[in-house]
């Protein structure tokens, strides 16, 4: 899938850890936080919806 966030890396520690744990590429996750920031909840919902399909190749 296409990246939906500009991937400027403004991810909080909790978001980064969750992405690491699930091998996710965060640029696929749409942010709903202030200024379009990806929140932990966004990542959790993304995982629930996709089953972590957007996992980045290692």
């Amino acid at each position: 899938s296409q990246p939906v966030s500009d991937g400027d890396g403004r991810y909080s520690p909790a978001v980064r850890q969750l992405a690491t744990a699930h091998g996710l590429d965060l640029s696929h996750v749409k942010g709903t936080g202030t200024g379009g920031r990806v929140t932990k909840k966004d990542v959790q919902e993304f995982i629930a919806e996709t089953g972590g399909l957007a996992a980045s190749p290692p």
Binding site: S12, P13, A14, T34, K41
Partner: protein
């Protein structure tokens, strides 16, 4: 619209007013500030935050020097020269007030010393030492602040009965000081006079000190004050004050009945009232709330569209940083920016010893609202840094959303809590979750680690705390 003499006039040069004026000028507006005082700075600078904190710094030095005995550093009691201390505080105030003047000058903000009253919704009349004049404006920002309340029963005509302004003047160090009111102003000034060797008695009508702060945060402070002050009497009212030769006789009515005690001075610090009178507000559509504050919307606009109100006069919490923040917003709105007050966490700090600071949701407020929160706590007993300071009397707590762990509020009691709360405010404002705070590396050994360790308690155990679940 007729040409006005200025784009914005700000009435009151306190931390709300001058911040608003500077912001307005920085955004290109012709700005005038009117204040009746000779020096800008408002209550905060002249008789509030600044002098009280300067005196509290002196108090802290005195009390730390006492505590140093246990470290093998023995000081004799200091000689206190009240005149030098007063002068020092005045010098600090003068320095800051000159700074505000200089900043106004370089921004081309005109400062006028006069008392302002509205003549109508576009005209002020200004009464200064040089006579009166009128000033037309496109927008006005009301930043007239607040003043101490002295209830009728305590308003006796004796200079030994003081409000906070009188107490900050340090007329002398009374052997016996009665502080009426267990809010932050009373406790801070009580701390100052205690360090200067007054015997301090605090009375508070409510069953608790510092209404608004969580009780567990108050406990370490209360315990220390109970050891140092003569007495803290809760659920006690001062029924009457009477001038006597040997002091002020105070009739204290508590659950155990009524007693009369004599004090050398009395500080009445029971509350503050917004300055809304004799402003000619009746010539405008400006409306007041039930509590007597000027009614404003989230853009700080009053019922009169061209008139804004900020700071103490515009509502609780009556704190300088709230005033400043509102001032910035009001100026931006006037300059045409789409913005509004949307801070979720206004911090409050009590600069006692230890300090108490909190922001966002309190545990008690969450409970009252039936909100599902998890409260995690890290007692300073387990803090290495607190131990090196000999000050384990503290507590750090987080109020977290039960499900997501989002930081909704932070409360801290302990030395330096007023500085530590800044991280808490940022966490709340950024929508941080407990893990974010826990994963941010806090330097060792610092008191800020207690915030991190409290956050660690949400998912697991903090390194330095363990309790069976």
């Amino acid at each position: 619209m007729a040409e006005t003499e200025c784009d914005v006039v700000v009435i009151g040069a306190g931390p709300g007013g001058y911040a608003a004026a500077f912001q307005a000028a920085d955004l290109g507006l012709r700005t005038v500030v009117v204040d009746q005082e000779a020096q800008p700075g408002g209550v905060c600078l002249l008789r509030g935050c600044i002098p009280s904190k300067a005196l509290l710094h002196a108090a802290r030095v005195i009390s730390e020097a006492e505590d140093a005995r246990a470290w093998g550093i023995e000081f004799d009691k200091p000689r206190v020269d009240l005149e030098t201390l007063r002068r020092r505080v005045k010098t600090i105030i003068a320095k800051l007030t000159k700074g505000v003047q200089a900043l106004a000058g370089s921004r081309k903000v005109e400062l006028i010393q006069a008392r302002a009253t509205f003549k109508d919704k576009t005209t002020l009349s200004l009464n200064g030492s040089g006579g009166s004049r009128e000033l037309t404006f496109a927008h006005a920002i009301l930043a007239t602040g607040s003043r101490p309340v002295v209830p009728g029963s305590l308003a006796i005509d004796d200079p030994r009965v003081m409000d906070s302004t009188g107490a900050l003047d340090l007329p002398d160090v009374p052997a016996r000081l009665l502080v009426v009111g267990g809010g932050y102003i009373g406790l801070e000034l009580g701390t100052v006079y205690h360090a200067l060797r007054s015997e301090v008695t605090v009375v508070e009508a409510l069953p608790r000190l510092l209404n608004g702060a969580d009780l567990d945060l108050i406990r370490p402070l209360q315990q220390r004050m109970e050891r140092r002050f003569k007495a803290i009497k809760l659920e006690t009212k001062v029924d009457k004050l009477e001038s006597r030769k040997d002091g002020i006789a105070a009739t204290l009515a508590g659950s155990g009945g009524s007693t009369t005690e004599v004090f050398d001075r009395v500080l009445v610090a029971v509350g503050r009232r917004p300055n809304t009178e004799q402003l000619g507000l009746e010539t405008t559509k400006v409306a007041l709330t039930a509590k007597g504050f000027v009614q404003v919307d989230r853009q700080l606009r009053t019922a009169e569209p061209a008139i804004f109100a900020i700071g103490d006069v515009a509502g609780e919490p009556m704190l300088a940083h709230k005033a400043t923040h509102e001032g910035l917003i009001a100026a931006r709105v006037i300059a045409g920016q789409q913005t509004a007050f949307d801070a979720t966490a206004v911090p409050a700090v009590v600069f006692t010893d230890p300090e108490i600071a909190w922001c966002g949701l309190t545990e008690e407020a969450a409970k009252a609202a039936g909100q599902a929160v998890t409260v995690t706590k890290f007692p300073w007993l387990a803090s290495g840094r607190a131990t090196t300071l000999g000050r384990n009397d503290g507590l750090t707590k987080l109020i977290l959303d039960k499900e997501s762990g989002r930081v909704l509020g932070v409360g801290i009691c302990g030395v330096g809590a007023g500085e530590l709360i800044a991280e808490g405010v940022l966490a709340v404002e950024m929508g941080a979750v407990a893990e974010d705070v826990a994963a941010s590396i806090h330097p060792h050994p610092t008191l800020s680690e207690t915030v991190m360790e409290a956050a660690e308690a949400f998912h697991g155990y903090p390194t330095h705390l363990y309790s069976k679940r």
